[in-house]
């Protein structure tokens, strides 16, 4: 059990507190400003890597690549995406959370708390799939340019294998 628990960075062996704050400081995010975002948060909270604040409100972690490099620099709050942050906007998110205001992930649902996300992960499901916006302008960048330039994929041919009994033939 210990061998497994110590292997994976997401298994925390100390209390994390209410909100887990991750800042990507892998190369791309770091160079595009993630280092400055991390420094600003660390200074604001008065904690370092893998440390909780005294009031148990936040836990700060330098995280690795979040598969959101198109949205660098990336921060996560309870593992929900906070894309394209700056030192100022990142600290502002923390302030709003601390005041108990509603904060939404930039590509995902309303921020809950760390425990709630852990439950989502444990059951690999929750009822929030319909909440929030998961597709943004950067994910549509190519589609937008293609539409502007009148580009598209080659036309879809007529079905190669006829499937007469299928109701889903019309398109």
């Amino acid at each position: 059990m210990t061998a497994v628990a110590t292997f994976y960075t997401m298994y925390k062996r100390r209390p994390v507190g209410k909100h887990h704050i991750g800042v990507c400081t892998n190369t791309l995010c770091a160079l595009l400003g993630g280092d400055a975002v991390y420094d600003a948060i660390a200074e604001h909270l008065g904690v370092g890597h893998n440390e909780p604040t005294a009031d148990g409100e936040f836990f700060l972690e330098r995280i690795e690549c979040q598969a959101a490099c198109t949205h660098a620099p990336v921060m996560t709050v309870d593992w929900e995406f906070m894309d394209d942050v700056t030192p100022t906007t990142a600290v502002d998110v923390l302030d709003r959370l601390e005041r108990g205001e509603e904060v939404w992930s930039t590509r995902g649902p309303r921020i809950r708390n760390f425990d709630a996300t852990e439950r989502t992960l444990a059951f690999a499901s929750d009822d929030l799939a319909t909440e929030g916006n998961s597709v943004d302008a950067k994910m549509l960048a190519g589609l937008t340019v293609a539409a502007e330039l009148g580009m598209s994929a080659p036309a879809i041919p007529a079905p190669s294998i006829p499937a007469p009994s299928s109701p889903a033939q019309e398109n």
Partner: protein, 434 residues
């Protein structure tokens, strides 16, 4: 070469992630076609399409499927590698958040083809929003009778399990992923036996990347001839390119394989502030970097290999001349050191030593002798560990040295942050906290 949205074609439909939304664009038509066909015919179609794995290695997908022994009396498994953790790779997570049913439909068709009644989608734990979208799609597909017993009256049964990872890059390595799925530490296995023969629970297993599987419905629905209109003979098809870094419009651009970085850059609005491309990586930090000289090379598996690099995940990271290559490489090595699973000594110890020496350079304390030491260390790791993580860790430095030797020379006396003001690389204008 033009942009050709296929997997991304309907991402601007906010209902696409739902079953009804996906079906309104022809979704699950391919499943009906496949189930009326024969598993071997589906494998043959995918083989003929020439589809190659989109996870990085580019192995022919149909061929991989055909390695699964048939009529062996053992359960077969399909495992989808959705552990997208490669620095720079950011295309599978968007696919799962925007078009999860393309993945689910692909999983059902693939499972039918390889005669698996159980499929697993292993999604890295750091992205709950991708996990809940895929779980929702699976749930809706199950409620509609597309997963479960006797799917569409075909007699084919399938269960799909969505599994969350727990934060380990190594679990993107297929055999480490299997160990992780079985509940152990995610450490790579020695091959052979290959997963097609003895994979999950020692049974024949196919492991495919998310984007690979998301291609399947389109190939089955539209046919091999249609698919082969895209790309080249050796690299057919389209690719979800995720362009990041110092470009004006970073984002997802879907185009045929064979498009050049120069064309992608143009679609992405060019370089920020008109500053030159200094170096770029075609697909993740594990592939050797290229420079501005290489912008016209077609982005195919074969052309990238000929240029001394790899297409990898097809998610180019582009850096401009404000960036210190020494700092970039050091940060990547810190990553590999952190993520080395510790099983093989060359990788475990080597990443530790390389990182330590590189950090000296970052602070301006490197030496000419250590330039050679680093080369020696990389040679001691490459090809000497079970999996590709060791090879990947030995990749950034030699490529950087080849093109930017002068920066390592400068880092023997001057800290890189003095030569390259970090603030110049930031994508926001506000003053840094430091």
């Amino acid at each position: 070469m033009t942009l050709t949205p296929v997997i991304t074609e309907h991402w601007n439909d906010p209902t696409l992630y739902t079953l009804d939304g996906y079906r309104s664009h022809g979704g699950y038509r391919a499943l009906a076609t496949a189930l009326k066909s024969d598993p071997d015919a589906v494998i043959a179609t995918v083989k003929d399409s020439g589809l190659r794995g989109r996870g990085g290695a580019g192995f022919p997908t149909g061929l991989k499927w055909s390695f699964v022994p048939q009529n062996d009396g053992k359960p077969h498994y399909l495992v989808v590698n959705a552990d997208e953790s490669e620095p720079g790779a950011c295309k599978d997570i968007p696919i799962m958040m925007a078009n999860p049913h393309a993945l689910v439909e692909g999983v059902i068709i693939t499972s039918f083809a390889i005669r698996a009644n159980h499929a697993f989608i292993y999604i890295r734990g750091e992205v709950p929003n991708a996990i809940r979208k895929v779980a929702f799609a699976v749930e809706q597909a199950r409620a509609a009778g597309l997963i479960g017993k006797n799917i569409l009256g075909s007699g084919f049964d399938l269960e799909i399990v969505v599994h969350s990872g727990a934060g380990a890059y190594i679990c993107g390595e297929e055999t480490a992923l299997l160990d992780s799925l079985e509940g152990y530490r995610g450490q790579p296995r020695l091959k052979p036996p290959f997963p097609a023969v003895a994979g999950l629970y020692a049974s024949p297993t196919v492991i495919n990347n998310v984007e690979t599987i998301a291609n399947i419905p389109y190939i089955i629905d539209r046919g091999v001839d249609w698919f082969r209109q895209f790309g080249t003979e050796k690299s057919p098809g389209f690719k979800v390119f995720a362009v990041s870094g110092h470009v004006n419009r970073p984002g997802i651009y879907e185009a045929p394989l064979g498009i050049t970085m120069r064309e992608l850059l143009e679609y992405a609005g060019g370089m920020r502030g008109g500053v030159d491309v200094k170096f770029w990586l075609p697909g993740g930090s594990s592939v050797p970097m290229l420079t501005a000289e290489h912008l016209d090379i077609p982005m195919t598996y074969e052309d990238m290999a000929a240029a001394g690099t790899m297409l990898g995940t097809g998610t180019p990271m582009v850096f401009d001349s404000t960036v210190s290559v020494v700092k970039a490489v050091t940060r990547w090595l810190e990553f590999y050191k952190h993520e080395s699973c510790g099983k093989c000594t060359p990788c475990r110890e080597g990443t530790y030593w390389i990182t330590g020496v590189l950090e000296k350079f970052e602070h301006g304390h490197g030496s000419q002798e250590e330039v050679e030491t680093l080369t020696h260390l990389c040679n001691q790791i490459a090809g000497r560990s079970f999996c590709a993580l060791g090879d990947a860790a030995a990749t950034p430095y030699p490529a950087a040295l080849k093109y930017f030797r002068d920066e390592f020379d400068a880092a023997t006396h001057t800290p890189v942050d003095e030569t390259f003001d970090p603030r110049a690389s930031y994508v926001f204008a506000e003053a840094a906290a430091r």
